[in-house]
């Protein structure tokens, strides 16, 4: 059994940890912990980017790592924590499907994602091509997190986790997108969060709660 170079082992370990964090977010109901897990995901991404930058010598990846750190590890979690404090939202409600069932479906999703990503991994020339499947899995599990939640805040965390997965996918398939695109995406995410902040206050003002069951009343015959 040949051993991979050490930095690739660390990258694989980081990918596995990323997957673990996705599952942890899937089962977690305390929103404070959800946001902290999101910050940890961002930190893992940052470390992975720096390692890749060191390995390939691509300068723009260092910048990308810095951007990830500033945005996904520091600013966005801080913003979300602040929102939580001001809105007083700390816990999510029981999901429809119990935790065990959700996790088992998550496992099936992981297998499916790897199957989906197989043709891409086969064609990729990067060192981290095996991790593309994990990126797709993170995206799909984040999507599951979004649809099994009732509180608006948890859905937003799921959405941001999806972005993390996409970023990791771009990193492992193509060593990141062109800088201008990454800047644009970061800007979009930032603006989206700011818009959401305003939005949450509007929702809370109207409904006195951030439970999304209040937002399901628009029906066809209206």
């Amino acid at each position: 059994m040949e051993a991979l170079p050490f930095d690739l082992q660390i990258l694989n370990a980081l990918a596995a940890l990323l997957l673990l964090l996705s599952f942890a977010m899937l089962s977690q109901r305390r929103i404070v912990t959800l946001v902290n897990l999101l910050a940890m995901q961002g930190a893992l991404l940052c470390i992975a980017t720096i390692l890749l930058a060191w390995r390939t010598g691509a300068g723009h990846l260092y910048f990308s790592a810095g951007l990830t750190l500033a945005l996904k590890v520091i600013f966005l979690p801080w913003l979300l924590h602040r929102l939580m404090r001001r809105l007083g939202v700390y816990w999510d409600t029981e999901p429809l499907l119990n935790t065990t069932g959700t996790m088992l479906i998550g496992v099936l999703v992981v297998v499916f994602s790897f199957g989906l990503a197989q043709p891409i991994s086969a064609l990729a020339s990067t060192a981290t091509r095996n991790a593309i499947g994990i990126a797709v899995a993170v995206v799909l599990i984040a999507f599951m997190t979004m649809i099994t939640r009732r509180k608006a805040m948890s859905q937003v965390v799921g959405f941001l986790s999806m972005e993390n997965g996409l970023f990791f996918g771009a990193m492992s398939a193509t060593y990141g997108m062109p800088m201008i695109v990454e800047l644009g995406v970061a800007l979009d995410v930032l603006v989206a969060m700011l818009v959401l902040g305003v939005f949450f206050f509007q929702i809370r003002e109207q409904f006195d709660s951030l439970d999304l069951s209040h937002l399901e009343s628009l029906k066809e015959d209206q």
């Binding site: 891409i120 064609l123 996409l166 193509t174 062109p178 201008i180 939005f199 066809e220 209206q222």
Partner: protein, 489 residues
């Protein structure tokens, strides 16, 4: 050199407008300023258009922006409808402010986001960089989320939330598709920075791109951008978002944003078809298009809110456009482009009329709006003509494009023709049966003193009528050139 200046003016004007109106948007003359900025944008767009017609395709700013026959007419259309909507929005928002539905801070937000929205759409239309196109599309969604929730009612908040989340998730799929596209492009074009995402470069090498990756990428891109077009079954956000915001926003969302999203889908389809050399992308588009037409036609019957009714009509027409682009070939593409144009003009005209009608009646429910002919003849006739136009009555332009699409379908995809005809018929009956009592019914309300701004309505309808009867040669050449481009020649 002057083309770069024109282009800079085109993109810069709405951006500057957004900034200025963010500060001054609550003043009495702010709506006029809004109209001024939109007019300037339209002038720049027209200048750019004439330049492209005379000198051919235009590539500016280190190849980041690219204007050819396909997007130049969309640019002009966007700028034009932006202008007329700004004209419409002047008295409309004044009345809304008088009724107390918007505060000065909200008016500032409204005006600045309106210009920002125009800017992002123009960037999305003119950029050569597929990544930037994604960024601009997401920015267009974000700039309108707060506008959909402008009135802060529970329904509008729900609409805004659905819009944000569903479009956000959709556009994340599109990002994945873009990443896959970049991945495939990198192998052929090399990873030297940005050139792997430039559409012009990709168009040249599309036959060499890896088919497996591109087909996967197209699925994600279609699902992603298709959510923004409102293709069923991803259209859930559309009726709510188009119905709950202020009417000018409904007009531009229905009339313009759907077109821009469709443009994104078609640009990607050109690349994928070139690589796959198969009809899979076309078939997928056709499938989604047909599903949208059928679903929308049947949902039309259950609507009680007038704006939701016409929002579903937008879903239906975008389905027709998707179906036409899916069929492919020069005639179908021509018809689809024509349909995009006339739908845009007609739908925004309808929303203008509807907006004023709802304002007069004080409610958006169709059962509360009656006898518009007696209340205000201009609105009544505007709504009637607009509905007839959108239903595809000759001699309006929608009839011409739908006729072309149906005849092409009969030749190329005969199985789809009965489905299309059925859906169109159902939609006709639904809308007509709803509009008729609204316009001609009995009412006890009296004529109201506000003069509605109906110049935009009739201008649009006149244009649609003209396009139905006679398409000017330069316009026809234009469409033909764009159709050829899309067919991949």
């Amino acid at each position: 050199m002057s083309s770069i200046l024109t282009f800079a003016v085109l993109l810069g004007t709405p951006l500057v407008g957004a900034l200025l109106l963010g500060l001054l948007g609550a003043k009495r003359w702010a709506p006029a300023l809004n109209v001024l900025f939109s007019a300037l944008t339209f002038l720049a767009a027209s200048a750019l258009t004439s330049r492209v017609i005379t000198h051919g395709n235009l590539v500016v700013m280190h190849e980041q922006f690219f204007i050819d026959a396909f997007n130049v007419f969309l640019v002009t259309l966007t700028a034009f409808v932006g202008l007329t909507t700004a004209i419409f929005s002047r008295p409309y928002m004044r009345i809304e402010a008088e009724h107390g539905r918007v505060s000065p801070a909200q008016l500032r937000l409204y005006h600045s986001m309106y210009q920002l929205f125009m800017a992002t759409m123009l960037i999305a239309l003119t950029t050569n960089n597929l990544g930037l196109m994604w960024v601009a599309m997401e920015a267009a969604t974000l700039s309108t989320v707060l506008l959909v929730t402008l009135y802060r009612t529970p329904a509008s908040l729900e609409a805004g939330w659905k819009y944000f989340i569903l479009c956000g998730v959709g556009i994340a799929q599109a990002l994945f598709g873009t990443i896959l596209l970049y991945f495939a492009a990198e192998k052929v074009l090399g990873a030297e920075g940005v050139s792997a995402l430039l559409w012009t470069h990709l168009n040249v090498v599309k036959a060499h791109l890896e088919p497996a990756v591109l087909s996967l990428a197209f699925v994600f891109l279609l699902v992603g951008y298709g959510t923004k077009v409102g293709l069923a079954p991803l259209h859930n956000w559309l009726p709510d978002a188009h119905a709950e915001g202020p009417t000018p926003i409904s007009a531009v969302l229905s009339g313009l944003l759907l077109n821009v999203a469709m443009y994104a889908v078609v640009r990607c389809k050109v690349l994928v078809e070139g690589s796959l050399q198969s009809t899979l992308p076309g078939r997928m588009l056709m499938g989604f298009g047909l599903l949208s037409v059928v679903l929308a036609a049947f949902f039309l019957w259950r609507q009680r809110d007038i704006k939701r009714l016409f929002a579903y009509s937008s879903v239906e027409h975008m389905g027709i456009v998707a179906f036409a682009f899916g069929m492919g070939g020069p005639v179908a593409n021509f018809a689809a482009l024509l349909h995009m144009t006339v739908h845009s003009l007609t739908k925004s005209a309808i929303f203008f009329a509807v907006g004023h009608a709802a304002q007069k009646a004080g409610s958006q429910l169709m059962e509360d709006i009656r006898g518009l002919i007696t209340l205000s003849p201009t609105i009544g006739w505007g709504l009637m003509m607009g509905s007839l136009a959108i239903l595809g009555m000759p001699p309006f332009g929608v009839f011409a494009s739908e006729f072309l699409i149906l005849t092409t379908a009969m030749k190329q995809e005969p199985w789809a023709t009965p489905i299309l005809l059925l859906a169109l018929g159902v939609a006709f009956a639904a809308i007509f049966s709803r509009v008729q009592p609204m316009v001609f019914g009995e009412t006890t309300a009296k004529r109201l003193p506000h003069p509605p701004a109906l110049l935009p309505v009739f201008t649009h309808l006149a244009l649609v009528l003209m396009l139905g009867i006679f398409i000017p040669p330069y316009l026809a050449d234009w469409y033909r050139a764009a159709a050829q481009l899309i067919a991949g020649h």
